[in-house]
């Protein structure tokens, strides 16, 4: 199958006139999040990004699963759906496929996205629909009060896994890359301004844009507040060269922030089929006189 190179036209476009502000994307509902939870920073970065991007709230759909982080949609003024645990991505895909005119953003946590939702994650990377997936990774199941997730360090002690789960954590960026993602980035909730910039770029990306956001859990992973000292910008954004991107991700300490990889190579879309009417379809059944 031949390939197309997309130049992502709207990537190059100027930001639309700033008629919207972050406030326009705020619902006013009170988050149930613990004071100090990293997810507040993500919410504000997202509101900023949407204002910058400039489509009105009613043309944006936020889809989530279940978890602390998955509560986010109701805190915005957009259309939203708070579905079941782990299924944000297929729901979002359904919205986008049925309504390509809408801006679709799926959000959730590391448990929702990498544990129960892992299969949808890799398949969404492969399916490459034009949407954003933003994971607030706190390396714990916050909502169920502190169990290790697929990104938790192997020796993190918890009631359910005394002494640590003993498994090498997933690197979500590597997984996304191996599954075929065309846009892979990492952000940090305590740097909402930079995060907003990445989100805007992700929204403009004409395919599946994955953003892993480090978002500390103040209740169960206090030590994650030290992430502030660890983060640093990624060395460079790698384009098209997937092997180089893998090498860069593996060489990184897991705290490099920014867009890690963009792949402009695309498959040619199938030609539009010829249109028919319902009556024509029915006529296929006709037999006899």
């Amino acid at each position: 199958m031949t390939e197309n190179i997309v130049t992502a036209p709207n990537m190059l476009a100027d930001a639309p006139p700033g008629t919207l502000s972050a406030r326009d994307f705020h619902s006013g509902a009170t988050p149930i999040w613990c004071p100090g939870c990293g997810d507040y920073g993500v919410l504000s970065a997202l509101e900023d990004a949407l204002a910058t991007y400039g489509r009105p709230p009613h043309e944006v759909v936020l889809v989530s699963g279940i978890g602390c982080s998955s509560r986010l949609p109701a805190y915005t003024s957009c259309y939203g759906f708070h579905g079941v645990h782990g299924r944000a991505l297929p729901f979002a895909a359904g919205v986008k496929l049925a309504r390509p005119d809408l801006e679709v953003i799926a959000v959730g946590g590391d448990g929702d996205g990498y544990s129960i939702g892992g299969n949808h994650f890799i398949h969404a990377c492969r399916r490459d629909l034009d949407m954003v997936y933003l994971v607030m990774d706190n390396r714990v199941y916050g909502m169920t009060k502190g169990q290790p997730s697929p990104t938790t360090e192997p020796d993190w002690d918890s009631d359910i896994a005394p002494g640590g789960i003993g498994l090498r954590p997933f690197d979500p960026l590597a997984l996304a890359l191996a599954a075929g993602a065309t846009f892979v980035a990492r952000g940090f909730s305590a740097q909402p301004h930079d995060l907003a910039t990445v989100i805007v770029e992700a929204i403009r990306w004409p395919g599946f844009a994955f953003i892993e956001v480090l978002s500390p859990c103040v209740a169960f992973r206090r030590e994650e507040f030290d992430w502030k000292a660890s983060v640093h910008p990624v060395k460079q954004t790698i384009e098209n060269d997937r092997a180089a991107a893998h090498a860069a991700i593996l060489a990184d300490d897991g705290f490099g922030l920014g867009v890690v990889f963009r792949d402009y190579r695309r498959l040619k879309p199938a030609p539009e089929p010829q249109r028919v009417t319902l009556a024509e379809i029915e006529s296929e059944f006709r037999i006899g006189a």
Binding site: G80, A98, R286
Partner: protein
């Protein structure tokens, strides 16, 4: 003057082409003006193993499998006898077999059917021709049966070329020759299988799966997401190109969890959406069906039932997902469950399901089964159509509350893109605005809102079909309905007036209509194809039948036949 119906089997091993013979014959007979139906049997091999085409041709619509087959055409005998239980023969049946195929297997011979030796295949073909082009035994046999049944040879030729499609010209020519030769050879047999003259009329030839798919398109479905599963896959394979040509989308999901959630997403987006599956897939979907109930998202779920539990018998029929469809899912999650009463009714029920889902903002499960879904049938083409019902999307004049409980329980559901209509679909217990809350009052209010939607759903005359008013009532659904009706007709003729009630709405049970339909019945028998008597217990659970009602339940995959029903009714008195 000829007989009014004829039941024929073509059977043979992999290459023998029993299915092609069956399709060709069915199409020819249908074009000639007969009603007809064809069911298919396959051996355990994934592809190319032995198979049998079970046909009926008649001057009346066909709704179930025959008590016995009149004619069994053995293209060869290789492992064909494994189908014996599914192909009842009697002493009055005729077996047409080539002596070269060897002796009739015991399982088949046991029927004492009359065996007629019949050399199949072109006697004049050279060995080279045979090697190059195959023996066309199947087309030869079809030609022979066409002649015996008195089908117009021109219709046979036309059907052959339709079935062969775009095959090369020489293939077409050789097959056409075999067809003629088969007919010629049959003329030498002293067999009386002549059908009464047909009563041609414009008809449709289609499967139950195609009929449901067509119904769903009529109903407005423009998004389908699914994961392949026998015996539902051919439904979506038929649908895929057509849906695209209508501007819709069919998506192959990574699994059933994705499929149903994509459907909910598309539906949330404002597009009527459907998924199609069988038992194992439905099991995987019940969590999301509960979400559709709680968040009030329309969705149509087609379950083409097969023998269960677990992987069961993927290619064979049963009606054992009744419990799952009605009761599957945690929490109180009532939904609508429908079942088509015939292949023809699949068109109606498929369309109606979409209207109900959309207008009530609820999941609707349609329980079809393999016997309906994969039966090819000739039907009358203009079945009733349900009046269209649409989703409520207009914003109220007052403040918009997506989950308002103080009004009509069906509340506005504006699609994304509607200014000032923003709402967040919510699977947690929520207040009227959709914000999660955990109080008992809000919980009860929303449960009641949803219950009221179903309570106000009035299926009208479409709750089910009733035939007759005999004092014995057979209460059934799905592919059982046709056999029950045939049994009732026979029983009535024999002096035991019997009525048949076929439920189209399995849940919520149409209690009042059901009571009316059963009025005066002194004996009620619930007939269904599963071991647990699932429908029977469901009816008892809701006092829809008296505790004294009988159950006639047995598992699949054998279809109910008229004779079995009559015998069971007699035995149970």
């Amino acid at each position: 003057m000829g007989r009014s119906s004829l039941a024929i089997v073509f059977a043979g091993s992999g290459g023998a082409g029993a299915m092609t013979a069956g399709e060709l014959f069915l199409r020819a007979a249908a074009t000639a003006g007969y009603y007809g139906s064809m069911n298919r049997l396959f051996g355990p091999q994934v592809r190319g193993g032995e198979s049998a085409a079970l046909l009926q041709i008649s001057n009346l619509p066909i709704t179930c499998q025959p008590d016995n087959f009149d004619l069994f055409v053995a293209l060869d005998w290789h492992k064909v006898d494994q189908f014996a239980a599914e192909i009842p023969l009697t002493e009055n049946s005729i077996i047409l077999a080539d002596p070269q195929s060897g002796p009739v297997p015991q399982n088949v011979a046991r029927s004492k059917a009359r065996i007629v030796s019949f050399k199949m295949g072109d006697p004049e073909a050279t060995p080279l021709e045979r090697a190059l082009h195959g023996k066309h035994t199947n087309v030869f046999a079809a030609g022979a049966v066409g002649c015996l049944a008195g089908i117009d040879p021109a219709k046979m030729r036309a059907a052959l070329s339709t079935v062969l499609g775009s095959k090369a010209a020489d293939v077409q020519r050789l097959n056409a020759a075999s067809l003629e030769k088969g007919a010629a050879a049959a003329a030498t047999l002293a067999l009386d299988l002549d059908l009464a003259p047909p009563k041609p009329a414009p008809r449709w030839l289609l499967t139950g799966n195609q009929a449901i798919a067509m119904g769903s398109l009529r109903g407005g479905v423009r998004f389908v997401s699914c994961y392949p599963i026998t015996p539902a896959t051919d439904l979506v394979e038929w649908l895929a190109p057509r849906l695209q040509q209508l501007g819709g989308k069919l998506v192959l999901a990574e699994d059933e969890l994705a499929a149903i959630n994509m459907v909910l997403g598309a539906s949330f987006g404002g597009v009527p959406a459907m998924t199609v599956t069988s038992g194992p897939g439905l099991s995987l979907m019940v969590e999301a069906i509960g979400l559709a109930v709680a968040a009030e998202v329309p969705a149509v779920i087609i379950d083409v039932m097969r023998s269960g539990p677990s992987t069961g018998i993927p290619s064979k029929t049963e009606q054992s997902d009744v419990n799952l469809a009605i009761y599957g899912g945690h929490g109180d999650a009532p939904r609508i469950v429908l079942a088509p009463t015939s292949v023809r009714d699949c068109l109606f029920t498929g369309e109606w399901a979409v209207y109900l889902a959309e207008s009530l903002q609820t999941p609707v499960i349609v329980l079809s089964d393999q016997a309906l879904g994969q039966a090819h049938q000739v039907i009358d083409p203009k079945p009733d159509r349900p009046p269209p019902l649409a989703r409520r999307i207009e914003l109220p004049a007052s403040k918009f509350k997506r989950y308002a409980t103080d009004s009509d329980p069906v509340t506005a559901m504006p699609p994304p893109g509607t200014p000032h209509g923003q709402w967040v679909g919510e699977g947690l217990t929520h207040n009227e605005f959709g914000i999660p809350v955990s109080g008992a009052a809000a919980h009860a209010a929303q449960l009641n809102k949803r219950a009221r939607k179903l309570a106000q759903f009035d299926p009208g005359a479409w709750w089910g079909d009733v035939w007759g008013d005999g004092d014995t009532a057979i209460l059934t659904f799905g592919s059982g309905a046709g056999a029950a009706l045939e049994a009732a007709v026979a029983l009535g003729a024999a002096g035991s007036p019997t009525r048949v009630v076929a439920l189209r709405v399995l849940s919520p049970l149409p209690l009042a209509a059901l009571a009316t339909s059963l009025k005066g019945a002194r004996r009620i028998i619930v007939m269904e194809q599963n071991q647990g008597a699932q429908l029977y217990h469901h009816l008892l659970a809701h006092n829809a039948i008296p505790p004294t009602a009988d159950s006639m339940a047995r598992p699949g995959p054998l279809p109910f036949r008229r004779a079995e029903i009559i015998a069971r009714l007699a035995a149970q008195v």
